[in-house]
Symmetry: C2
Subunit: 395 residues, 2 copies
């Protein structure tokens, strides 16, 4: 049988980086390639208690079909929490629970972008979102990220050049993969530009709670007086990614359309997990839990950075992150990135070549991404030592 | 702000039946409009024990990110079970876990059908699937369902008429909404026809285990020597729909593409629920549980049919189902279906007008669907009495 696939699959080729990532299945390889929360970040005991309580008190509610919009008590809690803590949510907004922020991002693209419409993203950006966009055959245009966020000049050019732009996708806090946080000035400029061009902003904020130094910067959504920002949040980095619970806070007309496609996608998000998230937010000390997470990642990032200063060839440059899970490193341009990544994995250390995060994989890059949340302290020490030796060998 | 949505949303209008279904939120309305498992069908005690065990023995595994293909022990258990019990799965096949069969159906359409490609379905058919197909802008062609399944003659005509047909979507067992089971002869004819025209078959079998009379008929997938059948199953009707766990068994090239779009859709299915399904299949007496479900639905369908014989005007016709959750009723043609359904809901009984299940909602129908799994015995008795009075009034 010769299987013919849809045109939308043409842009979704198996990536060149899979070759490297598949080595991470080997337990002798130290992986700095993942983006998993640290195992010690899971509030195991609390989840155990909460789950037992739900299955005791409301088992049928936890097992039966539910509604596509999401579990009402969780939606209400999130709305109140976003409003109080982040100034997010106005009268024209609504909130839907999704199966991770990934689904919120995919469904926003599905309801808003016809094939050929332009979607502008940061360059580099999160590969999961880029592939979701590609699966709807958008014209994906990347705008370079600078040390304080997306280039406003280049964004203005891109908006001018592509009048069919429907969406701007940004990760303003501790961006994946660059680790960069967009400055307040740039956030204001991005908002004004998008308002001027009638472009909606898809703001993805999975790492916002994981700031371990510096000060919080207001979200784009908190500035959204005109209803142009679609805000995605997630429990993946603050409670559990395995539960697949995220959310979208956006103007009602957008949420209404997302509810329709959510229904045809998976009917609703796993209801037991929605209940667990709700009870975790309301019956546990959520702020104290978040404080604990920040301590864990502050320690891990600090350890990795300390080792990098000791072992890496100083020609390798990077910006120290103020939060999130990643450090983005730049090789001198003469070094072949894929060669470096392949040699690293041969030496039992996996990193992700920056190629994976480009809107167009054929563009040049000399960057790679390190993750410090998943490896143990011992693995961080040992792995950076190995990488360090390699950087001295090749340079 | 004037929100512009993608072209694919044009075909996904809010349905006319929503007007009726929204009344079911009123607790004084007896709903025969749902498709929920009976609350007493949930093995609450077993789920409680299994869940506590998982969160005790492997909490990090249950909370951490997992792989898009699904939890390997569950995949292996399902493959073995499908092979042994149903003769499903050949060397060229693979299996992926999805967030309910709904997602398997949506993703198959996404990877296989470009806009404008023809997708043939039964007429009537399951509204969730029809909307998933519409969201990918396929040319949706319905072929009438007869008492022993889809009309082979009309299917042959449709295949001849639409050379760009990519998929045939069928629910061979206790079809939703018609309750019809496709005969073995017709299954063989469908398979041969699709093979001849190079069309893949999407076989949706959510109710297969819920046969309470008659004998099992082999699945289309069990006949699939050539790799043209994509088989969807689900835990929604045999364990819990709230968990959102389903699966797709299909030829490897198709599953590989579905893995790619699954990853951009929700990364992976809720992992705790996958573990619960696995333990329920391997550590509990699953066949005995299924036997218990059949007893529940045999009783409930029997009770509803008995009441229908007593109370309904004999001009209302229906076929007695051998399994599943639904009874499909036909009004005499002179009766206005929507009027009847509206009057029913005014009298505090909700049924679903057949319009909801048509590939094209503007086609005529005089049918409505009754569900017996969700209401209590008392509600069945009382609701059918009310419906009966109405049928005598209007006829």
């Amino acid at each position: 049988m010769d299987y013919q696939f849809s045109s939308r699959m043409d842009g979704l080729q198996a990536s060149a980086i899979r070759e490297i990532l598949k080595f991470t299945a080997d337990p002798s390889v130290i992986s700095f390639a993942a983006g998993n929360p640290a195992p010690e970040a899971f509030p195991v005991e609390a989840v155990r208690e909460i789950t037992a309580g739900i299955l005791q008190n409301n088992p049928v509610g936890a097992l039966q079909y539910s509604i596509s919009e999401g579990y009402t008590p969780l939606r209400d809690t999130l709305k109140a929490d976003l409003k109080t803590r982040l100034g997010i949510g106005r009268e024209f907004d609504d909130l839907i629970i999704t199966s991770g922020a990934q689904q919120a991002i995919e469904l926003c693209c599905k309801v808003l972008c016809s094939p050929g419409d332009t979607l502008i993203c940061e360059n580099p950006s999160f590969v999961g979102s880029l592939n979701a966009f590609k699966s709807y055959e958008v014209n994906l245009v990347g705008v370079d990220v600078e040390e304080d966020g997306i280039s406003i000049e280049k964004l203005a050019c891109a908006l001018e050049e592509h009048p069919n732009t429907k969406l701007l996708y940004v990760i303003p806090n501790f961006q994946n993969p660059s680790g960069v946080t967009m400055s307040l000035e740039k956030r204001r400029a991005v908002y004004e530009l998008c308002l001027k061009y009638g472009v909606l902003i898809l703001e993805d904020n999975p790492y916002g709670e994981l700031r371990f130094s510096g000060s919080n910067v207001p979200t784009l959504k908190s500035m959204d007086t005109e209803g142009i920002v679609l805000y995605c949040g997630s429990f993946s980095k603050v409670l559990s990614p395995g539960m697949r619970v995220g959310y979208l806070c956006a103007p009602q007309p957008v949420v209404q359309k997302v509810v329709v496609v959510k229904q045809v996608s998976d009917v609703h998000t796993n209801i037991l997990s929605q209940m667990i998230c709700h009870e975790f937010m309301t019956k546990q000390d959520f702020p104290a839990h978040l404080e604990g997470l920040r301590r864990i990642y502050k320690h891990k990032s600090g350890l990795m950075l300390e080792q990098m200063r000791r072992h890496l060839n100083p020609k390798i440059t990077y910006v120290e992150p103020e939060g999130g899970l990643f450090i983005w490193c730049r090789l001198p341009e003469k070094v072949n990135l894929m060669d470096f990544c392949k040699r690293a994995v041969m030496n039992k250390v996996a990193v992700v070549p920056g190629t994976a995060f480009l809107p167009r994989e054929d563009q040049p890059t000399s960057c790679f991404r390190l993750n410090y949340s998943t490896p143990t302290d011992e693995q961080i020490v040992q792995g950076i030592e190995i990488l360090g030796e390699l950087t001295h060998e090749i340079l």
